[in-house]
């Protein structure tokens, strides 16, 4: 079981708070539209979910080793 951060893109304001706290540099805000998480780099620490002012990042459990 692995945890991955998942963003509700429709509600993202693209402020970039998540980018700043990510210890792995797994989050980016391409073209200023919404934040995107690179799941291959995400370690599921949950820092971005805590920081997100709109609280729209959740951690999802993943079974497969991807």
């Amino acid at each position: 079981m692995k945890r991955k951060a998942v963003i509700d893109k429709s509600q993202c304001v693209a402020c970039g708070c998540c980018v700043k706290v990510c210890p792995k540099g797994a989050v980016s805000v391409p073209h200023g539209i919404n934040a995107v998480i690179d799941e291959t780099m995400c370690v599921g620490c949950g820092k971005c979910a805590k920081e997100c002012p709109a609280s729209i990042i959740i951690l999802e459990e993943r079974d497969n080793e991807s």
Partner: protein
């Protein structure tokens, strides 16, 4: 593992200094134009939100006060507050008030109204601010704009501070009119870009 601090991680100093300078000499309020023009230039020119993501000093200030200094409850903000209706509604309201402020400035420029040495907080409460006014070299309108603009900056700081305490540190970012506007610009730019690509 914490990323090394970059030069722009200290721009909160600029925001704090700006707020203090408004108490010293109101004409410094003009510097706040930077916070309006730079995000627009970045979003129109480069099509990204680097201003919000990296340079916004106010965001850094809230993040510091709410995070490191523990002034935030760090609770989720109510759903309606992050809805598009509220965000776009606040953007429209904010800019309507901004243009009313510009109109009042024009009236002083045109000599139809005397200079009001007051700060209007939360678009309602008039606070005497004459002690930060030491005359202007140019027209009274220049000072009127400073009073009006500083009113906007202080009002939005107060709103941001209150939501910082109640909800997450950077709750202001969710309904910040500049943030909403630059995101809209970025979205529009991306639509036109993908359209030209398709053609």
């Amino acid at each position: 593992m914490k990323a090394k601090k970059k030069w722009y991680d200290h721009l909160w100093i600029f925001s704090l200094t700006y707020l203090i300078l408004g108490f010293v000499n109101i004409l410094f309020a003009w510097l706040g134009m930077i916070c309006f023009i730079v995000p627009l230039v970045i979003s129109i020119g480069w099509g990204n939100k680097a201003y919000c993501n990296k340079f916004c000093g106010r965001g850094q200030l809230f993040s510091m006060l709410g995070g490191h200094f523990g002034l935030s409850r760090k609770k989720d903000m109510p759903k309606w507050m992050k809805s598009k209706y509220f965000r776009y509604g606040f953007l429209i309201f904010f800019f309507t008030m901004f243009f009313i402020m510009l109109w009042n400035t024009y009236l002083v420029f045109a000599g139809q109204r005397p200079l009001g040495q007051k700060i209007k907080l939360l678009w309602t409460f008039k606070v005497p601010w004459h002690w930060a006014y030491h005359g202007t070299l140019f027209s009274d309108g220049v000072a009127q704009f400073a009073f009006g603009f500083y009113s906007i900056m202080l009002t939005s700081t107060i709103l941001g501070f209150v939501t910082m305490m109640l909800f997450k540190p950077r709750s202001w970012c969710v309904y910040c009119p500049m943030g909403t506007m630059t995101q809209l610009i970025c979205k529009a730019k991306n639509v036109t870009k993908s359209q030209t690509k398709a053609e």
